[in-house]
Every structure is written in structure tokens, then in C-alpha cells.
């Protein structure tokens, strides 16, 4: 065992990379849940985003186009969920599950000819001087653009929810859809928008895994990250900055256990690989005492009666 092989600077830098897919998916789902909808299909949308982004990046040679395609694919899949829950009034838990099952199958089908292919690399940004600083450079100024986009998105969602009119309306719909309807707000339309935003974010998160984090395509490669993102939303008490903190925490756990595996710690690999899931459970237990900040209409369908 050789712990000295673990470089703390690289560890932190790779932690940020590991956290980004989680962060993107969690921020999207946070907005969805703020509008009162529980979409358990995050995992499915992520994996479809992962393969759609991968395929387009490989075919076009442009990772950026890949990310755009991933967002579109995630949003498109989320529309299916929206049709089921918002129009057909189907149970949200069941619909979310079906989205995940469907997404896993669809991605496997789409990805058949991409197994073992290497995607084009997305370059890391390089700011002269800043990126070359020791320690601070690789941690803060040496990443790809999507990672910064994730952080910017967190800030934007925080601002919109807290200060903007549209954020207020979104929260109102999630809080009491009957009252929002009575005031003349289009509950279904607002929820559809939120669901699509969540789908796009999940798609981006998935593509980040297949294009940057790993980078290659394997079936089922999201390996529960979509579900952890759902847990993260609970962890964050529906607050964007806490979601960022949580994503970095989980990213840290993942990276540390991978490093420990590589360093050959005496703990069997399987038990290290379990750790992110076990820690998610522990965190959920600690935080589940307080549900007061959950949107009051979360998971309830809306149908305008007479």
C-alpha cells in the first residue's frame, strides 16, 4: 500500500471532475422538484444523454456539439415523462421508474456500435499565468468549460429562484398548484418547462461522464449517479449551493475510494466500490429528519377541475 502516491492537488482537481455530472443532474432535478414534480427518471435521462452526446461527439468530432445533443436528448426523453404525468395524469413514481428502465434499454441500443470507441477530447481551458500557478492553478483554472458551466448554472439557478419573478412563480406552483391556477398561472406549462430543464441538465451530466470523466462508452455506465443526484436534492434541502457542496462531497468520496483502490489498500475493492452508495444512505438518514423545506405539492399531479 502506498498512500504517498495520492497527490492532494490532483485529488481535489479530479474530485471536481467527479462531482460535475452529479451537480448538473442534481441542479436540474432541484428545479423540477421546486415546481412540485418528482422525476425519478434522472438515471435514464443521464444515460441517454451520455450515449447521445458520445455518438454526436464521435460523429462530428466536436465535444461541444456532443454536449448540446446530450442536453437535447435528455430534454426529449423528459418530455415523455411530462406527457405521462402532466397530461395522462400517471403516477410520478411509476413514470419516473419507467423512464429509467426505458432509458437504460434505449442507450444500450443506441450505443452498440460505440463500445470501445475513443471520443474526441474536450480541451481544458488555459489561462496564462493563472493556470500555471502551483496548487491553485490545476484546482481552479485548469478544467474543461463544462465544469465551469456547472458552477455558473448553480449560481444562475440560485439567483433565479431567489430573486426573479419566474423563480417566484415556479416556487408558487410547487408550493400550491391549486392556488397558482386560481391566480391564472399555467401550472402544466410551467411544470413542462421545469421538467425539460431537468432533462437537459441530466443529459449534460450524462455526457460529462462519457465524454470527459471516463471517457468512453459502456452500457449502464452512469451506475446509479442519477439516483445519487436525487438523494443529493434531498441532501441540499432544495438549495442550489448546498447541492454544489453535496456534489463535491460525493465526488470526494468517489475519488478517494478510487485512489485507495489504486493505492492497494487492504480493504477489498468491492467494499470500497460500495462506499459511495453506503455513504448516500447514511447521509439520507441523517438528513431525513427535516422535510420542512420540501415543496408542498411535490409528487402530486394537477388536474384543473371545474
Amino acid at each position: 500500500m502506498d498512500l504517498s502516491a495520492i497527490n492532494p492537488v490532483l485529488l481535489i482537481a479530479s474530485l471536481m471532475v467527479a462531482a460535475t455530472p452529479l451537480l448538473l443532474a442534481a441542479i436540474g432535478e432541484l428545479v423540477v422538484e421546486k415546481s412540485g414534480v418528482l422525476n425519478l427518471g434522472v438515471e435514464g435521462m443521464m444515460i441517454v444523454g451520455a450515449i447521445a452526446g458520445f455518438a454526436v461527439a464521435v460523429e462530428s468530432g466536436s465535444p461541444l456539439l456532443g454536449f448540446i445533443a446530450a442536453a437535447v436528448a435528455g430534454a426529449a426523453l423528459s418530455v415523455l415523462f411530462a406527457i405521462l404525468t402532466q397530461f395522462a395524469q400517471a403516477n410520478q413514481v411509476a413514470s419516473g421508474l419507467s423512464l429509467t428502465l426505458f432509458g437504460l434499454g434505449l442507450s444500450a441500443l443506441m450505443g452498440q456500435s460505440y463500445v470501445g470507441v475513443k471520443p474526441p477530447r474536450m480541451g481544458d481551458i488555459h489561462i496564462p499565468v493563472l493556470s500555471d500557478l502551483p496548487v491553485v492553478g490545476p484546482i481552479l483554472f485548469g478544467h474543461d468549460i463544462i465544469l465551469y458551466f456547472g458552477i455558473a448554472l448553480t449560481a444562475a439557478v440560485w439567483w433565479v429562484l431567489k430573486y426573479s419573478r419566474i423563480g417566484l412563480v415556479l416556487r408558487a406552483v410547487g408550493e400550491n398548484h391549486d392556488a397558482a391556477h386560481a391566480l391564472g398561472y399555467k401550472v402544466l406549462k410551467i411544470r413542462l418547462m421545469a421538467i425539460m430543464f431537468g432533462g437537459a441538465c441530466a443529459g449534460l451530466g450524462g455526457a460529462y461522464i462519457s465524454l470527459i470523466r471516463v471517457p468512453q462508452w459502456t452500457e449502464g455506465m452512469t451506475a446509479g449517479i442519477g439516483w445519487i443526484a436525487l438523494a443529493l436534492v434531498v441532501f441540499s434541502s432544495w438549495r442550489p449551493w448546498r447541492a454544489l457542496l453535496g456534489a463535491y462531497l460525493f465526488g470526494g468520496v468517489t475519488v478517494v475510494q478510487l485512489n485507495l483502490q489504486a493505492a492497494g489498500v487492504a480493504i477489498p475493492v468491492e467494499y470500497l466500490a460500495m462506499s459511495p452508495y453506503l455513504i448516500t444512505i447514511i447521509v439520507l438518514v441523517i438528513l431525513s429528519a427535516d422535510k420542512s423545506s420540501a415543496p408542498a405539492s411535490l409528487g402530486r399531479n394537477f388536474h384543473a377541475s371545474r
Binding site: 425519478l40 415523455l80 406527457i83 405521462l84 397530461f87 395522462a88 395524469q89 400517471a90 403516477n91 413514481v93 411509476a94 413514470s95 421508474l97 419507467s98 428502465l101 426505458f102 432509458g103 437504460l104 434499454g105 434505449l106 444500450a108 441500443l109 452498440q112 452500457e219 451506475a223 446509479g224 439516483w227 445519487i228 436525487l230 438523494a231 434531498v234 477489498p268 468491492e270 467494499y271 466500490a273 460500495m274 452508495y277 453506503l278 448516500t280 444512505i281 439520507l284 438518514v285 431525513s288 429528519a289 422535510k291 388536474h303 377541475s305
Partner: protein, 360 residues
């Protein structure tokens, strides 16, 4: 313009018809999907739904229906109890794995002695393995209010890692030339869940699935616990008012579904599969979710849905070898089925009304 009107009460006719409509719609869109993949759509659908039952090699495939259908039905019956009460165990895959590990482990502890007591002991151990794994989310939910969906799902990944660990360690076949995986239980009479009637596919798991169907039917229709389960799903506050203890119900539903999933895993490992190995689980725990919904969470419906889903598995295999239809296409096909079912379910509670453009 199309509007939805809530029916004064759920339509019984539509409630029975929606699964059929969903299957038809899935055939249609599945056919389109197959065509898009460059496969003959009609032929593919015929192979999936007809070949296993009435084709040239039906004598081989028909028993397979029971082999594949039994674990699906067994797991789905358990899940349906919870789903009816709004208790979402989606970690049946993990409970299935743990049932197999506990069942096989309990048996292998006595290897190589022969006794008729070993198999029943394995059955109990298998059920216990699934039960204990499901009790984790159950207890966390009742004690701390933790979301059972996420916990049960996380435990699937944990169980998969545990499965890998025991395949490589604790249960590894000492005479297996270093390959991962346990001893083959099929080769050990006391532990083998053999066919009860040769050539039928009928093994103890099938018997257990049928018993589970009857048990669930009686429970839901004739027993207070079943009434409480339905009441909790329909109106949680009314259930509390009726005197239901929500915590006890969570423990019962999750525990029962865990035990049944564990049983399914145990019957699989001691029968059709034969050994614990890294890739022992093939997703029955997740497909059973589709089976449960397709069967309308009704025991008899689940029995039929389990058969249908087993058919798509076997038919899918045939299509894979005959038409080179990718295995993933069948997975998409199954996912589609659930989609259409949920969508058409609308017709049970709502009427679609065509209205003239509204004159204001």
C-alpha cells in the same frame, strides 16, 4: 380541442382493457423500432410472441416460460403489495441477489453432506436474506423517515458489489481452478432445485409463485391487512383514521416483498442458474416492476403479465439468434410497454372529451 373529464368513478372496463391496448400499442411502435433497425417488423413481432408458444421448437421454449416467469411473478407479487400502499420498494434486484447468496451460502455450509433438510433450510435462508435486505430501508423509513425508494435502490449496488465479493472470496468454488463463482448446486442433489416433472420447467420456484399469487389474492380481497394496504394507497389519512399503523404496514410490505424476492433468487441459484457468480443477476428485480404495473397490481393480472414478460425474454432471445435483433431492443420494447400502460391508464379515471373550440 381535446379535454379530459374526470370520471365519477374509475372505469372497470378500461382498467382491464388498458394492459391489452398497451400491448397492442407496444407491438405497433416496437415494430416501427425494429423496422428502423432494419429488421422485418412483422416477422420480429411474430417471433417474439408466437414462436416460443407455437413454433417448431415450442417444446423447448414452453418450459422456459415457467423458468423465466416464476421469478418475475414471485417478485412482482411482493412489489405490488407495497406499490398499492404507496410504499416503493425498487430494490428487489438487491433483495434477489441477497436471497441467492444467503440461500446458496446456507446450503454450501453443509457441503457435501446429503440430507433432505438442506433444501428447506436453504429456502428459509433465501427468504431471510431478501427479507433482511428489505428491512434496511423499512427500518430506516419507520425510524427516521428516510426515503425508501433511494435507500432500496442504493442497496442494489451494494448487493452487486457484495455478490462480486463472495463470488471471488467466501463462496468461491475451491475446486474451480481459480475461476470466480461458487460450486454448482445442480450437481449436488440435496441442494438442487430440480424440475419436479421432467421437461416441464416446473420447479419449486414456480410452485412458490403460484402460492404467492393465491396468498396475495386472499390477502387483498378478504383480509384486514390487505384492506389496510389498499386504503393506505388510496387515502393515507383515511387509513390512519381507520386505525392503520403506517410503520407496521411499511415493515410488512417491504418485508414481504423482500422475502419473496429473496425466495426468487434462491430458487434461481439452486435451479436454473446453478451457481453464485459475478453476473448472476440479470435484472429480474427491475423487470418485475414492469410486470407489477402491467398486471395492474392485481395478483391474477401479475400472473398473466409475468407470462407475457417471460415471453418477450424468450422471444427476444430467439429473435436475437434468428434476426440478429440486439438484446437491448427487447429492453426498449419492455420499457415501451410500461410507458404505454401508464399513458393509457388515463382512460380508467378520465374520459376524453372532444369539445368544440370554446366560445368565450
Amino acid at each position: 380541442m381535446i379535454r379530459l373529464e374526470k370520471r365519477p368513478q374509475p372505469s372497470r372496463a378500461w382498467s382491464m382493457a388498458t394492459p391489452l391496448v398497451a400491448v397492442l400499442a407496444t407491438m405497433l411502435f416496437g415494430g416501427l423500432l425494429f423496422a428502423a433497425l432494419g429488421k422485418p417488423p412483422v416477422e420480429a413481432i411474430r417471433i417474439i410472441f408466437w414462436e416460443p408458444l407455437f413454433g417448431e421448437f415450442a417444446f423447448y421454449y414452453r418450459p422456459q416460460l415457467l423458468v423465466k416467469g416464476a421469478p418475475l411473478v414471485l417478485i412482482a407479487i411482493g412489489l405490488s403489495l407495497g406499490f398499492r400502499a404507496g410504499i416503493w420498494n425498487i430494490g428487489a434486484e438487491g433483495q434477489y441477489i441477497m436471497g441467492a447468496i444467503f440461500g446458496a451460502g446456507a446450503g454450501l455450509a453443509f457441503y457435501p453432506s446429503e440430507s433432505f433438510l438442506i433444501f428447506p433450510f436453504m429456502v428459509i435462508a433465501g427468504a431471510f436474506g431478501g427479507w433482511i435486505w428489505a428491512m434496511i430501508p423499512a427500518v430506516l423509513k419507520t425510524r427516521f423517515g428516510t426515503n425508501e425508494i433511494l435507500v432500496s435502490l442504493m442497496l442494489v449496488y451494494v448487493a452487486e458489489q457484495f455478490l462480486a465479493s463472495v463470488s471471488l472470496g467466501l463462496l468461491k468454488n475451491p475446486e474451480g481452478f481459480g475461476f470466480p463463482g461458487s460450486r454448482n448446486l445442480q450437481a449436488w442433489d440435496s441442494a438442487h432445485n430440480a424440475e419436479l416433472i421432467t421437461g416441464t420447467g416446473m420447479h419449486w420456484g414456480v410452485v412458490a409463485a403460484l402460492i404467492a399469487v393465491i396468498f396475495a389474492y386472499v390477502l387483498l380481497n378478504r383480509h384486514m391487512t390487505g384492506y389496510h394496504i389498499r386504503l393506505t394507497g388510496e387515502a393515507p389519512r383515511a387509513a390512519k383514521f381507520a386505525g392503520v399503523n403506517p410503520a407496521r404496514l411499511v415493515l410488512f410490505c417491504l418485508g414481504t416483498s423482500g422475502a419473496l424476492a429473496g425466495l426468487a433468487g434462491m430458487f434461481e441459484v439452486s435451479g436454473p442458474s446453478g451457481q453464485i457468480s459475478i453476473d448472476f443477476n440479470v435484472g429480474y428485480g427491475f423487470t418485475a416492476i414492469i410486470v407489477a404495473f402491467l398486471g395492474r397490481l392485481h395478483p391474477v393480472g401479475i400472473l398473466l403479465a409475468g407470462g407475457l414478460m417471460a415471453l418477450t425474454y424468450i422471444g427476444g432471445d430467439i429473435a436475437q439468434s434468428n434476426l440478429q435483433l440486439p438484446a437491448a431492443a427487447i429492453q426498449v420494447f419492455q420499457g415501451m410497454l410500461l410507458f404505454f400502460l401508464l399513458a393509457f391508464d388515463l382512460l380508467t379515471n378520465f374520459r376524453i372529451a372532444l369539445s368544440k373550440p370554446e366560445v368565450a
